[in-house]
Homo-oligomer: 327 residues x 2
């Protein structure tokens, strides 16, 4: 199975309103809720691709209860909007297994207020709950046990209050000691500290990579990140696709055209694409193709964070992968 | 006891952010939650004044669970910010008794986003859950039983989807049949239809009264509302106090100076003041004094919807009541 870790899980709430006016009063016309936090998004896409997945991290309070309920039963519509024919994920969907560790604090909410007219989104993110030392210790015990059954693990997103900034380094070292392939998708100091523990793969976007290395040119920055400890770096270039610097070579993969739509969750879908191809033993160009096709199919889907299964199948044949040969 | 009815109860969530920018992303620095909906606010203030109160209406889903939990235990800080000495409410506080009727739908949330710099508030209100015919029937059965123990009942706020627009008329007729004094605090068509059922008291603000009667001049509008069926009308004039048109006479009550602060909940505190004085058998000038003092003490309190107990005691002696003699 594939394990995803979301230390700062969330309940993602989306509100539709006619238009957001500061200091005004608004009737919300539509409310939707889904489990949120990068690792939960990655797991949902992996599950939709037919992979056995387990999610861990923390959940607490009434909001944590809602997240767990939605994970368990409410994800049936969460993984693709195709018609279930052909090679679509419909036939094999099995929701991620919930191995979230309970905490005394309450899971945070995020609220996306979508203007009905423009489709533009205003985001309000609650602070995460503070994790106690005992809760972190309980998590580590559970994590070590889960690693015993995992082919790969994805460590995703921000760290909640109470978790030390070197936490991802610790989780990477434990995964490597257990012989489990480990992917890190975070930013800032947690990324910098995590890379030092030598993860198999990091997936920053161009801004995160520039912040980490000081280099704005993505290829140079990706190579710098490898020197800092990451075995492979896949940098997301937004609508232009991805750039990969790996021990086997350097590639760029691009969609046939930049996808227009809602980019929410596109990066998480790319992580799911990379991981799924990796555990299936596919070579780098196929991993990147899958990442780019899933990412673009997520931007194209009408619902934020889901992917259009038909568009995904179609895009798989149309992603262009170019190898950068050493100068 | 005093019964308050909140058919469209809510969980009121307050977020503090540096400043709300449409289409931006915001870290919420502070989150607070309290039971919301006018009738629950009225009950909290009545309880703080030492009155036995029972709340009914509807609650459902996880959000309904949170509302009930907060009503039960979390209201200890909800009723006044004084030091508990003298005649303050501290010594006698007993939280409202929860007689909310369970529903299949989920209680709505309201979100108030407060700009830390300006204190200005942006309001997002979810739609209420749809109430089924069976749920409404269950409510009526419970309501009739509760009326048996009630000295007065306050019918407060908007109607959720599924409830017919004449619902307040029905609740007023049942209260009158049971010999229970009934106050109506709503607006628009539910107010118009409710007044026809001859409630003892309505408490519109000047805008609601003008909308109902077509008359912009408050005294004329209040007298018109009496002709439409209300035995007494107390019109809230915002920072200028209240105007009362009653069978015993017509009065205006004003605070010593317009209170500056957050007016959220000031109207609900006025209702609590009127009701508490009414069940204590006090004459109209004392009822109005209490309404104005509580309302101003709510505006002055640092937390939205609470009242400053010391300011309340101080204001009681300083509200000016003037009788309008017939011309």
């Amino acid at each position: 199975m594939v394990l995803t870790v979301t230390l700062n899980a969330a309940l993602d709430i989306t509100y539709r309103t006619p238009a957001l006016v500061p200091h005004g009063s608004h009737h919300v016309t539509e409310v939707s809720e889904r489990p949120g936090g990068k690792g939960l998004n990655v797991a949902r896409v992996l599950a939709a691709l037919g992979h056995e997945t387990v999610v861990t991290g923390f959940a607490g309070g009434r909001t944590g209860d809602v997240v767990r309920e939605l994970l368990d039963g409410g994800t049936g519509t969460g993984g693709g909007t195709g018609d279930g024919t052909g090679t679509g994920p419909g036939a094999v969907f099995k929701p991620p297994v919930d191995a979230l560790v309970p905490i005394a604090g309450s899971t945070r909410r995020t609220i996306a207020v979508v203007d009905a007219a423009s489709g533009d989104t205003t985001q309000l993110n609650e602070p995460g709950p503070t994790i106690s030392a005992a809760e972190w210790a309980a998590f580590l015990t559970s994590y070590d046990r889960l690693l015993g059954d995992a082919e790969a693990v994805a460590l995703c997103g921000s760290l909640p209050p109470g978790i030390h900034v070197g936490a991802y380094g610790e989780l990477i070292r434990r995964a490597r000691a257990a012989g489990v392939t480990v992917l890190l998708d975070t930013s800032g100091e947690p990324l910098r500290r995590g890379i030092g523990a030598r993860p198999d793969l990091v997936k920053p976007n161009a801004d995160e990579l520039a912040q980490l290395t000081g280099a704005r040119e993505p290829l140079r920055a990706a190579r710098d990140a490898r020197r800092r400890g990451a075995h492979a770096v896949v940098a997301s270039l937004g609508p232009d696709g991805v750039l990969a610097a790996t021990p086997e070579g350097t590639w760029q993969a691009s969609p046939p055209a930049p996808a227009r739509g809602n980019p929410t969750g596109a990066g998480d879908s790319a992580v799911a694409g990379l991981l799924s191809a990796l555990v299936e033993g596919l070579p780098w160009p196929d991993r990147l193709t899958r990442a780019v096709a899933l990412s673009a199919a997520t931007v194209l889907a009408p619902t934020a964070g889901e992917f259009d299964a038909c568009a995904y199948e179609d895009l798989l044949a149309r992603v262009a992968v170019t190898e950068h040969l050493p100068a």
